[in-house]
Symmetry: C2
Subunit: 348 residues, 2 copies
């Protein structure tokens, strides 16, 4: 156990020179040992390590950053910090980064406007981060951050690989997730599958909608009605009510853009006297905690946020290391079948 007490007893924390003196070597040798550099004899290394331990020495990061021009800090800017996806991704990035010896500095965007985005990115540049990952849920955030980033090492956690920037991008394949959901519904005999879409400016909403449409087309099915709302639960409720009030015959299944809205939809259908899944099937997206205990337990699409965050960090390391950019990595989500999706009701 390091005798930290020694350090605390002194007025000033020990510096590298103190360690060097105690170990009877030069401070440079201490530096070499601490950085794991080659060509230090084993006895010397041991003496240095013992001195470090005895003094409770810790390197001064600021001095290190100044001299080496590397901070070992990465920045993460997250746009919708309260949503399940972004906040989970943030945590996952942090885990991956810390495992690799990096620190993460966070900036969450309260308001989504270009000024705040630029300020956040500038923030990180000021701080001298080695790289930045931007969680960009829409074109606006992507453009604003790309512009503010300039040529700084960065990766975008975003669904849109295109654009005029040259950063690597990662995301879960939300379009695939949507197809999985629709195919699942179709395999249950559903022919009329509606979609409650998210905000149309959001990439994820776009992809999920596109996946829904594409899967239907592949299956030679007519797209059911599409109602657009927000990511929030009450939106799902309202959409469900609105769907039930229409003149047209009801679809037998709905693919809802996220679990929150699906929660609301479940309530909306119940309020309209429909049973899920007997009268209408519902599939959500995200696998938010607790949806497995809804009435009925919600079938949904799960993204592996840990994998996502890890991949984002790996890519960033690559960029920092000078690798060429432009890559897009798409991760596969997974369907989680529970009880809210069932066999299509036989036509009455």
């Amino acid at each position: 156990m390091p005798s930290r007490g020694v350090a605390e007893a002194q007025a000033r924390p020990p510096v590298m020179a103190d360690v060097a003196r105690l170990a009877g070597v030069s401070h440079q040798t201490v530096s070499r040992v601490l950085n794991g550099f080659s060509w230090v004899s084993e006895p010397t290394r041991q003496r240095v390590l013992a001195a470090v331990d005895h003094l409770g020495y810790r390197r001064n990061m600021a001095a290190r950053a100044l001299a080496s021009n590397r901070s070992n800090v990465i920045g993460v800017v997250v746009v919708n910090p309260n949503l399940f996806g972004p906040s989970g991704a943030l945590l996952a990035i942090e885990q991956a980064a810390r495992k690799a010896g990096y620190w993460v500095s966070v900036a969450s965007l309260p308001k989504v406007d270009a000024d705040h985005m630029a300020a956040s990115v500038d923030h990180f540049r000021d701080q001298g981060v080695d790289g930045t990952v931007v969680i960009a849920p829409n074109q606006w955030a992507l453009d604003a951050s790309a512009k503010a980033l300039g040529g700084c090492p960065a990766v975008m956690l975003t669904a849109n690989p295109g654009g005029d920037h040259s950063f690597p991008t990662v995301d879960v394949d939300h379009e695939l997730g949507a197809r999985l959901a629709v195919q699942h519904l179709a395999s249950l005999g559903h022919r009329d599958i509606a979609h409650f879409a998210g905000p149309s400016i959001e990439f994820h909403a776009q992809r999920r909608e596109r996946g829904w449409r594409a899967a239907l087309e592949e299956l030679d099915l007519e797209p059911g009605p599409l109602l657009r709302g927000s990511w929030e639960a009450h939106s799902g409720y309202e959409l469900a009510r609105r769907l039930c009030e229409r003149e047209a015959p009801l679809p037998t299944a709905v693919f809802v853009a996220n679990d929150q809205a699906a929660i609301g939809a479940l309530r909306g259908f119940a309020a309209a006297g429909l049973r899920v899944p007997e009268d209408i099937s519902v599939v959500g997206f995200d696998d938010v905690p607790g949806v497995g205990q809804l009435r009925p337990p919600l079938s949904t699409v799960r993204q592996d946020l840990t994998e996502l965050g890890g991949k984002a960090f790996d890519l960033l390391l690559g960029v920092i290391g000078g690798k060429e950019a432009g890559e897009h990595v798409a991760l596969a989500p997974r369907l989680v079948v529970r009880e809210s999706s069932g066999a299509a009701p036989t036509a009455g």
Copy 2:
């Protein structure tokens, strides 16, 4: 608009000396202007600012930290990063900190053991943060972090003000929240109020349980049955089933330790053929997004995490500024009445 282009065109970013040269002053004067120090004549200040702008100059944080021994970075260690409370508090701290010109560095604890806690705190000390806030949900985390922190400036976001540490502490008053819930239920005519408690090592679980008990005592009511589970939804389900399978007569209301478990409880009661709130009332805790759209919409207790985070940061600033420690700040939560709590059924 700052002509950042100039900076980017150069091979090396401009330093203070470049600004000084352009403005025809010494680098120290530049430093004075940038730090808002007194006694710089207005014309000089303007010239410096113009030069800064023209060059797109930005101070090097590492050098600044090295020379001034202050980093303007605070660290936050968060123990249950996936839970609603901790992650919300983290975000709130970040907002408050950034508004005050601080950066926040995050360490989330994957495993809850003393080594990881010590490593995280050490991490921050290495990095030279000006202060640390620890989100400590239980005694274990509190002790481990207090020990690792030593005399470093820090505040604990925790429900337990006691202990042998001398850090200021903040938290929402969960005991009060629980009382609010129980009083509400009692005012609806309930005499037999059960509690689904959280993990007994967790401070919040302890406080909510204590509040439930205290309120009952004040009201001269016998405590209903207490069943203990986890914070998760399935736990609420199991507890509800177990409650219904007992020989004893059912309570008419349950105060559930958190919303997740309440979601499960709602399902459990439905599965047992009980209607909420006609047969049994349910009140949760947290006001997690979406619970207003459950069937029925959940009555719950809401904590103001923004206020909590802000207060934590304020306290930390105080400690950094050398203020004496030991304070405990308790914030008031608020009851949110929805439809899962109703009048007690008239005795049958």
